[in-house]
């Protein structure tokens, strides 16, 4: 079976190449082939429409091999969900647009509520305009939520520069508070700071991020920005231990024995909230984002634009993320001082031998959903 699939792949490639070689004359025939292929995939996706319950939907998509995720450390909640419904932990690699979802090659696609979901639903530039024609499966409702965007630094720098860390947290959280109270203005600030996400989408993003900052995994309201909820952190760690698979046996052993105290320290945040800190030891600091500059990180942009960092004596440089030198690596090797990452990524980094410390938890619930066409 496997062999025949490979033979098929080779055959298709060879056929494509020969047809490309004979240039224009074959162009009409190959377009015919592509149009029939796309129509057949459309018909197969409609067969799943009968199922209604989320469970059936997940099982059906998993059996078809049409559950999508970006991978690269974003997949653990999906694994937990698949396991919950007794399915094999497998997904297909989703590109960073929603084309795969749109053309039916992925029927259950991963989406962040504040980003991809907005693109699928809305019809502004870059959007797909599905509106209410799509449904979502929420990781929080399914009980497999893992916490995402946090704030972290190295244990070493936290020990060496406690006041810098506390001052940074205090000013950042002030920024987050202002951003969540004025999401539209925050979106504008981010846009003006050089983000190329369209202003419509940015505004949508800000309003969704606000929800993630102010609601916990159970749906309760949270009023302390950046609070590290014990239960949610523990659930994240437990799921991480179960679903992060490390080939390196030493790292895997370390992961098994990690406790919350190995990955976070609440005292910096507590002191920051009480504003009990002295003059920062280090005034020029930088923070690397987990992704491209966008309203996902509005708190930091607002704190910078509103001068909150200056007020506590800091000069902050915001470094864009999204490249292959991840935020964990950049913080660990000292290129930047602070970073924003997902808790699961911090856990695997520490298991691998880094010495990182979470100092604040900005998002109080999971922003990951699986989106499907109704």
């Amino acid at each position: 079976m496997r062999l025949s699939k490979k033979a098929l792949a080779v055959l298709i490639t060879a056929a494509m190449i020969t047809s490309a070689m004979s240039a224009c004359s074959s162009s009409s025939s190959s377009t015919d082939a592509s149009s029939t292929a796309s129509s057949s995939s459309a018909s197969s996706s409609s067969s799943a429409e009968g199922a209604t319950a989320d469970g059936d939907r997940i099982i059906a998509a998993a059996k078809d091999g049409k559950v999508g995720n970006w991978g690269l450390g974003n997949e653990y909640e999906i694994f937990a969900l698949l396991t919950k419904y007794g399915q094999e932990n497998k997904f297909i690699s989703q590109a960073f647009d929603m084309d795969g979802f749109d053309d039916g090659s992925i029927t259950l696609a991963s989406a962040m509520t504040y980003n991809e979901l907005g693109l699928v639903k809305n019809s502004y530039e870059g959007g797909y305009g599905y509106g209410d024609k799509v449904g979502i499966i929420d990781m929080n409702d399914e009980g497999v939520a893992m916490l995402e965007d946090n704030l972290f630094c190295t244990k070493e720098s936290a020990q060496k520069n406690p006041n810098t860390v506390k001052a940074f947290i205090a000013a950042s959280m002030k920024g987050w508070k202002y951003a969540c109270e004025n999401p539209e203005e925050a979106a504008k600030i981010v846009y003006e700071a050089g983000s190329s996400v369209s202003s419509d989408h940015q505004a949508y993003m800000a309003s969704e991020v606000k929800k993630l900052c102010e609601t916990d995994t159970k749906g309760n309201k949270v009023s302390d920005y950046g609070k590290m909820d014990e239960a949610a952190m523990q659930q994240t760690l437990d799921l991480a231990k179960k679903y992060i698979k490390l080939d390196d046996s030493a790292a895997a052993d370390k992961l098994k024995n990690l406790t919350l105290d190995d990955i976070r320290n609440t005292s910096y945040w507590e002191d920051a909230m009480k504003e009990s800190f002295d003059k920062p030891e280090k005034t020029d600091v930088s923070i690397q984002l987990k992704w491209l500059p966008q309203a996902q990180f509005m708190g930091y942009f607002v704190a910078n634009a509103k001068g909150y960092y200056k007020d506590v004596g800091l000069n902050v440089n915001i470094v864009s993320g999204g490249g292959d030198i991840g935020e964990t690596t950049a913080v660990n090797n000292g290129t930047v001082d602070f970073g924003v990452t997902w808790v699961s990524n911090l856990i695997s980094a520490n298991a691998g031998g880094m010495n990182l410390l979470e100092i604040s938890q900005v998002y109080q619930r999971s922003g990951l959903v699986l989106v499907y066409k109704k």
Partner: protein, 273 residues
């Protein structure tokens, strides 16, 4: 009549024919894609759309149009590529010279030269970044590493291609090693050296773009991956694809022109044919 024949005989004319054919094929497919896909610009946009995105004065972030943005980032990437390229050439040529002078060095070093090309760039990047502590410097270093192999390999091939008889002739003149190299070996390896340069000029640019994607900041690669990740219109991605292809080709020709200027014999040879 004569003019027409002159035009139809020129190489440029045929290149244009190919480009025209390519554009026609592209547009046929773009039309097809437009009929079947909901977001055709993600798969294959009409070329007119790409041109529009370049000429449009719509701002895509707080302050810049697509064209301004591509140009600003291109400046950063190309200057890094140029610096890396020059370092790579120098290293490549010197290494080839040393390898040709000493068989032992060649035997020791050459397999490892090849090895450096094999190590995936991603594996090297965090290490180089850790050593240089500066992403801009590591980008230049990686661009240099990636470009010097074709120069070294081709130049070495040039040294080796010198015929035994010529060697023996120089020997009979009792030429010193220094004379041997300055009078014969180096001049005769120049065509090979330029082949290496021509191969690695576009490579320096593509490497520089690849390395850009490692971390944010200014650079075509950063912009490209941002566009690919949906942070801005997909046309920016296409602008960069075309821009980098054009710059890559121009760099190839640029080196070709330099070669012709430096090595007039080549021109004669071609005319003679």
């Amino acid at each position: 009549m004569k003019l027409v024949r002159k035009i139809t005989n020129s190489k440029l004319f045929f290149t244009f024919i190919w480009i025209a054919a390519l554009i026609i094929v592209w547009e046929i497919f773009a039309y097809q894609v437009e009929q079947t896909k909901r977001t055709p610009e993600n798969v294959l946009p009409h070329l007119s759309g790409v041109v529009d995105s370049i000429t449009s004065d719509k701002k895509i972030n707080g302050s810049q149009t697509a064209f301004q943005m591509v140009m600003e980032n291109a400046g950063a990437t190309l200057s890094r590529a140029a610096i890396g390229y020059v370092i790579g050439i120098a290293l490549g040529f010197i290494l080839a010279l040393i390898m040709s002078l000493s068989g032992i060095v060649e035997k020791v070093v050459f397999p490892y030269l090849m090895l450096i090309q094999i190590i995936p760039i991603l594996g090297m990047a965090p290490i180089i970044n850790a050593i240089t502590k500066d992403i801009a410097v590591s980008r230049i270093v990686i661009a240099a590493i990636l470009t010097f192999y074709p120069v070294a390999a081709n130049t070495l091939a040039g040294f080796k291609a010198v015929r035994r008889e010529s060697h023996e002739l120089m020997y009979s003149y009792s030429a010193s090693k220094f004379q041997l190299y300055t009078k014969m070996m180096i001049p005769s390896c120049i065509p090979y050296f330029f082949t290496g340069l021509k191969i690695s000029a576009p490579m320096a640019i593509t490497a520089s773009i690849l390395v850009d994607t490692l971390q944010g900041g200014l650079g075509l690669g950063c912009l490209l991956s941002q566009s690919l990740k949906g942070a801005m219109t997909r046309y920016v991605f296409w602008d960069i694809v075309f821009f980098s292809a054009i710059i890559g080709i121009l760099s190839f020709y640029f080196i070709g022109i330099i070669e012709k200027l430096l090595c007039p014999y080549k021109k004669l040879e071609q005319k003679g044919r």
